[in-house]
């Protein structure tokens, strides 16, 4: 057989086998996730969180909220954090060297004064310029730290150094939390007597177009913007049909940076957030797990399937591009840093399943897809494509995607039912149809760009995604015009920020 034929068979059947494996893995994980989600719902249906919310015996929690150039919304966002239903907490806002008047706004709004403060620098960070506390006893839970700019990871490390409580919750300052989110999140830490729970994460939901009043989501709507709507489907699919299974297998490698809770001591002992990666949330989890594995201590990373945190997703392709590019860079950097885990029996589920899964089906998926497209074009030019088979296979793949996404909407309908209006489900189902057409290709392209950046070492910074914040639209539903305006603001702000913020 000539080499061209070998080449042809290798790639044709290679990609086919890869696709079949991908589908099988997705199906297995999806089914297991659904089963575990239903179990979780049944188990927690009777937990009365309100009973212990006001109790003084709840464990102490420090909330860490890094902020960079959030002047437009910082005051309202902090106010919304004050509305969290939890008795024993401290709120630490870290101003990461903002170039706008974020700090001044906080000082004015919360009557802050600079206080002498001893920072126990257990993790090395950029210097702290000052620590501020309120003169008003109503805000005594609030601590604002002003530091030199060092990126999100560095800001969170300062938070870890300053936090005085046993557990730390790291959140994006503009996220909207469910009132009982902390109670739900802290429960796994206190309910696993046999294993030390080192971290827990919850479901992140899309807040675009939702009604937000007084820092709370009062009415859930499907986003009006199609891009945000597709991401809603993507979030539902990812959280409902993926994470729970990994959590149950104790193989979860990521806790969303938007809202996650950690055992502070373990996070610090593991070295805190890595400031050299853009995927600091995933990297920290992997490192904490490695730390526990190496210490041979029984541990778990838990996931709560209840919707706990609402965040805005990008409404413009440009911002989405940056986000997905960054996500892929973060994934690659983390996987590369911890490559010793790859099929390493020493790390059990982590080394034999989770890590290889991320390598093969998260990191390699866009590359294989790109190869698929390239070979399709080459074979088409050479007249080697049997179009009948091609279209039939294409129908399979696209149908599977539809099937998977639509199933996630179905599961959502039967379980959490966040979208209650009649037309909402229809809108989401239509978004499912639209997803593979442009969105998927765009996301794959962004991921490929991320990989190329890593290979060419052309960019290493965070390139943060900043949102318009809820403050402006805090008391009313965001109008379409506002959305457009916000998108433009986001883009301009991002452009300026990326220039300033990248290290």
């Amino acid at each position: 057989m000539c080499w061209e034929l070998w080449f042809f068979y290798f790639f044709t059947y290679g990609i086919l086998i890869y696709s079949i494996m991908l589908i099988c893995i997705y199906l297995l994980i999806g089914i297991y996730s659904v089963y575990e989600n239903i179990n979780h719902m049944r188990k927690h249906e009777f937990t009365d969180y309100s009973m212990v919310a006001s109790s003084s015996v709840v464990p102490a929690i420090s909330i860490l909220a890094p902020a960079y150039n959030e002047s437009a919304s910082i005051v309202e966002n902090v106010r919304s954090l004050f509305s969290i239903y939890y008795n024993n907490l401290e709120l630490i806002v870290i101003n990461d060297g903002s170039k706008d008047d974020s700090l001044q706004k906080l000082i004015d709004a919360y009557h802050l004064v600079k206080v002498p403060y001893f920072v126990n620098e257990r993790i090395a960070t950029k210097p702290v310029r000052g620590v501020y506390k309120s003169t008003n006893a109503a805000y005594k839970k609030l601590t604002v730290v002003d530091k030199y700019n060092g990126g999100k990871a560095d800001a969170l490390n300062v938070g870890l150094n300053i936090a005085t409580k046993k557990y730390v919750t790291c959140i994006d300052v503009d996220c909207v939390l469910e009132q009982d989110a902390l109670l739900r999140m802290v429960k796994p830490f206190m309910s696993s007597p046999d294993k030390h729970v080192i971290a827990a994460g919850g479901v992140i939901r899309v807040a675009n177009s939702c009604e937000v009043r007084g820092g709370k989501i009062t009415k859930v709507h499907v986003p009006k913007n199609m891009l945000a709507r597709i991401q809603t489907v993507e979030y539902i699919r990812s959280f409902l049909l993926g994470r729970m299974a990994w959590s149950k297998l104790n193989g979860l490698l990521i806790i969303s940076g938007a809202f996650g809770m950690f055992d502070k001591e373990i996070a610090i002992d593991a070295g805190g957030y890595d400031t050299k990666t853009v995927g600091e949330d995933m990297e920290l989890i992997v490192r904490m797990r490695l730390y526990m594995e190496d210490a041979k201590r029984p541990y778990a990373v838990r996931y709560i399937s209840d919707p706990l945190c609402w965040t805005e997703v990008p409404t413009s392709y440009r911002v989405l591009w940056r986000q997905r590019d960054r996500w892929m860079r973060g994934t690659v950097e983390t996987l590369w840093t911890h490559k010793k885990m790859f099929f390493n029996r020493k790390y059990g589920v982590l080394g034999l399943f989770s890590y290889p899964y991320w390598v093969f089906f998260e990191f390699l998926a866009p590359i294989v897809e790109l190869l698929g497209w390239v070979f399709l074009i080459v074979y088409a030019v050479l007249g080697m494509v049997i179009w009948k088979f091609y279209f039939l296979l294409l129908i399979f793949i696209v149908s599977f995607g539809y099937l998977f996404s639509a199933s996630s909407i179905l599961i959502e309908t039967f379980t959490f039912r966040q979208y209650k209006e009649k037309r909402d489900v229809l809108k989401l189902l239509l978004a499912v149809l639209y997803e593979p057409v442009i969105f998927h290709l765009y996301v794959v392209a962004a991921a490929i760009r991320g990989i190329l950046k890593i290979l060419l070492k052309s960019e290493t910074g965070w390139g943060e995604m900043t949102r318009g914040g809820f403050a402006k639209k805090n008391e009313s539903v965001k109008s379409d015009e506002n959305q457009k305006l916000q998108t433009e603001t986001e883009e301009t702000a991002n452009h300026v920020k990326e220039e300033n913020h990248e290290k």
């Binding site: 001893f118 005594k140 009948k388």
Partner: protein
């Protein structure tokens, strides 16, 4: 059979078959997703309507201040009997009664005194406890949990034996609910399940039990001393918490034994207990203990010394001020600051400029904290 037919087909036909099958499945899922959302909405609305109906009836019965109250109650009971007698489907009747129970439980949260008593009476008179007990005897854990909760929330003690048996149930959720139920029903006396429980009582469960006990009569559990000897470490930890909560000074010696328990969490809990339960020797004993324990326990010891330390501790604390980690040093400085002048503390570390610098910062913070909200 289908497989046999499929095998005989050529590849193209097989692919077409599967493509049609997939498209069919996708369409089916789309339709099911959409229509099930509509159906569920409809069902939810119907249940909501029934709930509103029952709620308003309940409100009328409970808060009607005129002579018609009793008539209404009779009528309401008849309404239920009617529902039973009119040949309604068993499922629907069950659903209506469950709605009733849910409404009663919901209402219970906002009632006290005579209103609450009326609600208990209603639960009894409508024999809703039978529905709850049926759930308790079911094999499905979720139903068992529901049954246990309903019976205990409605203060129905007749089936307490069945509930008590569940306090060491193999199914965690049932066990947890039964333990809470038995405490809800009998207060501190209900804690006797601690003598038989072999499974670990999680931190969350301990917290919930303590919270339940907070809202009950201030009786003291009598068996704490026995529970402190339990082979179940979680029972020992919980007993230490109980001893602390109820200020059991007579257990000081026993708590002292727990300081040398093999489990570190027990040690820490025992140390924390000494914050409230102590005698004149405790301080010195803790100082001696400090030298032989791990860092986690040391931090707990310092936490207790913040309130117990006297001049007797000063020499000891100075000794450790130089050699310890920053986190521990901060705690020591905090204790020393309450016992002596700041300048003396600084003098003690005069020879170590780096340590001196950190001690000065710590003192500044501590003093500022004192001033901040005073």
């Amino acid at each position: 059979m289908l497989l046999l037919i499929l095998v005989r087909w050529d590849l193209e036909a097989q692919l077409i078959f599967f493509a049609i099958l997939f498209i069919g499945a996708v369409s089916a899922i789309f339709f099911i997703a959409y229509f099930s959302s509509l159906l569920m909405q409809k069902k939810e609305d119907a249940i909501l309507e029934k709930r509103d109906e029952r709620e308003s009836l309940l409100l009328t019965i409970l808060f009607e201040e005129n002579s018609e109250k009793d008539d209404l109650l009779v009528g309401f009971k008849e309404f239920n009997i009617d529902v039973k007698g009119n040949g309604l489907r068993k499922g629907k009747r069950k659903m209506l009664r469950q709605i009733m129970i849910d409404e009663i439980l919901k209402m219970k949260k906002n009632l006290s005194g005579a209103g609450l008593e009326d609600l208990y009476k209603l639960y009894e008179e409508l024999r809703l406890y039978k529905d709850s007990y049926k759930k308790l005897t079911n094999n499905h854990f979720q139903l068992m949990v529901m049954g246990i909760r309903e019976l205990s929330e409605m203060n129905h003690k007749v089936y307490y034996r069945s509930i008590y048996r569940c306090t060491n149930h193999v199914q965690e959720d049932v066990r947890i609910e039964a333990q809470l139920a038995i405490v809800r029903l009998f207060g501190v006396k209900g804690l006797r399940f601690l003598s038989r429980v072999t499974y670990t009582i999680s931190e969350w469960q301990q917290m919930t039990l303590l919270y339940l006990l907070t809202n009950m009569k201030n009786e003291r559990p009598v068996d704490i001393e026995r529970w402190l000897d339990s082979k179940n470490d979680s029972v020992v930890i919980f007993s230490l918490r109980l001893a602390d909560k109820y200020n059991c000074f007579e257990l000081l010696e026993k708590i002292g034994h727990c300081l040398y328990h093999p489990n570190e969490t027990v040690k820490i809990q025992a140390v924390l207990c000494l914050k409230n339960i102590y005698n004149e020797n405790t301080e010195l004993e803790l100082l001696a203990y400090y030298q032989v324990v791990s860092k986690r326990v040391q931090i707990a010891v310092l936490e207790v010394l913040k309130s117990l330390a006297t001049q007797d501790s000063v020499f000891f604390l100075y000794k450790y001020l130089v050699s310890c980690e920053l986190e521990i040093r901060f705690s020591i400085v905090r204790i020393l600051n309450g016992l002596c002048e700041g300048i003396d503390i600084i003098r003690a570390v005069e020879k170590e400029p780096e340590i001196k610098e950190s001690v000065i910062q710590m003192l500044e913070q501590i003093n500022n904290e004192k001033l901040q909200y005073n």
